[in-house]
Amino acid sequence: MADLITNFLSADIRTATPLILAALGLVMSERAGIVNIGTEGIMLTGALLGCLGSFLWGSSFAGALLAIAGGGLMGFIFAFFTVSIRANQIVVGMGFNIFAGGFTITLNRLLLSGAKVSGFPDYPIPLLSKLPILGEVLFNWPIPVYLTFLAVPLSWFVLHKTNTGLKIRAVGENPKACDTVGINVFRNRYGVLIYSGMMAGMAGAFVSMGQLSSFTEGMVAGKGFMALAVCVFGNYSPVSVMLAGIFFGAADALKYRLLTTSIGGYYQFLNMLPYFITIVALCVFARRSNKPAGSGIAYRKE
């Protein structure tokens, strides 16, 4: 029984980590009034770049850095098109996703062909990891997992207790008023988009190197969109986003648990579970919302 619980919770956290990472980035950009459905594509690119970096330099750390840099660059390009050029955010996001699909397949065939690379090694925390059940579930993870959960209170602090956070939220609610009082709307939006791109890139790297340590085409399989749903479900607030991510992870862990039971033959229906739960969560939580008033609208300086 203890084993069962440990496995379940471990699987939960493993799935939840990339969702929370990407969603923490999205909290910032969504709060600043940008809807970035290109997150899926950025994560996919991050997944590839992570493996590529690890493959070229033999270190998962280098892979993570490459993925973060690539994600940041994509965030910057997204900002250029949606903030400076004022192109429709949804459409640019779609363009990103289609581009990333082609880009990752091409680079993978050219350089990687799904090669096994060194993934993130586990880093058990001394003493704590020896605790029964909790030790295995909470203190025996690769470094990115610890960082993800540390980022939650940090994001909360930045968003709600600092000047930067106030500006980010203000820019999303009423960009015009911000401009009037001298807050630079463009610079803030560029900043959060680059940041959320970096987070999505890292999330992607964890998808490809957190467990399997190789890149397969299309492996992100909707996790970027789910991160968006986690962000809505978590009401655009870091702590709730973490809980939402863990909830989604539980759905996924449940799926793997059920696969080994007698209904495992209907695995396609079990695979639907996370997507289905995403829809249900959206329906339940769509109305209760910290969604900013200026969401999705490009700002035009007069």
């Binding site: 400076s84 459409v91 699909g101 082609g102 329906c283």
Partner: protein
Amino acid sequence: MKKKTRQGLISLGFPLLSILVVLVLGALIMMAMGYDVGKAYMSLLNGAFGNRNSIGETFIQVTPLLFTALSYAIALRCGLINLGAEGQLYIGAICGSMAGAHLSGLPGILHILVILLTGFMGGALWGLIVGILKIHFGASELITTIMLNYIALELVSYCVTNAPFKDMTKGAAPRMTSVTDAVKLPSILPGTRLHAGFILALIGVVGYYIFMWRTTKGYEMRVIGLNPNAGKYSGMNIKSNGLLSIFIAGGIAGLGGVIQIIGLTYYLTEGFAANLGFSGVAVALLGGCHPLGMIASAILFGALNAGGVKMQLLAGVPSASIYMIQGMIILFAVSRELFKWLGNKAKALTGGMANG
């Protein structure tokens, strides 16, 4: 009148310019990856329009793209963003395949009509789910449509491996039962695989034009799409119009799926229509959701899809790399202000130098 022609020229010139920019960018990326760009583009062009057969293959690709583009356009005109054409297409194809394989005793034409209708209804009901979730719960269609795509993909995976959907022939690869010979659409370009579904797609575009610009319902939808409040205050029912538009949008995507089955593949396999949904969005956007614009951009994307196969064969560039080009085309197609921005920057730069 003169102003109108000038505006027309500009609105035509812009997409062409963005395509050109993208082809250059694509060439740069391919060069950076170490491919022979000249050879790649030549084989792409050759694969798309080189001979009668490749032209046929191009228009085979154009057919489902027109349906998914129409699907996106119909919903968008009413203010809904339908990213779920892929799922709707799959569900339509599943329903149509069942009708095509298991109904018998109907005369050919009638049977085809029944198949088209089931395909339409399958996609339409799948689309309607999105509308209901949006209206009753406020769930954003951006995410629900995409989630429903993944669910539809899993359903397809179930149908090709399980009775009663699966083809029970011994040794057959996982697929659904083949449709009967009587309902297979005829070829319209001798010596190629191009089927009558292409004509149906063109009829679909004409239908889109008539519905949107020549009927009251279409007018209402366009008003609501442009300004929901204006629609509301002039007594239009936003909810029922939204539901109707996503219903039709889903149905059109479903039609595209079932026509792909009875025109081309004859049975449904996993991934028989991969990426048609999102490419359709790109086609609609590049074509400005305008009937003629969508036909032109569908031909471009169809050519890229068909030519990409040849490019992989001859120049060794993975055919998936055309999705890079498609993605960039979308980016530039919606960036009308890019050139204005560049102009301002240039002005600022030269102005700055003059002052300095």
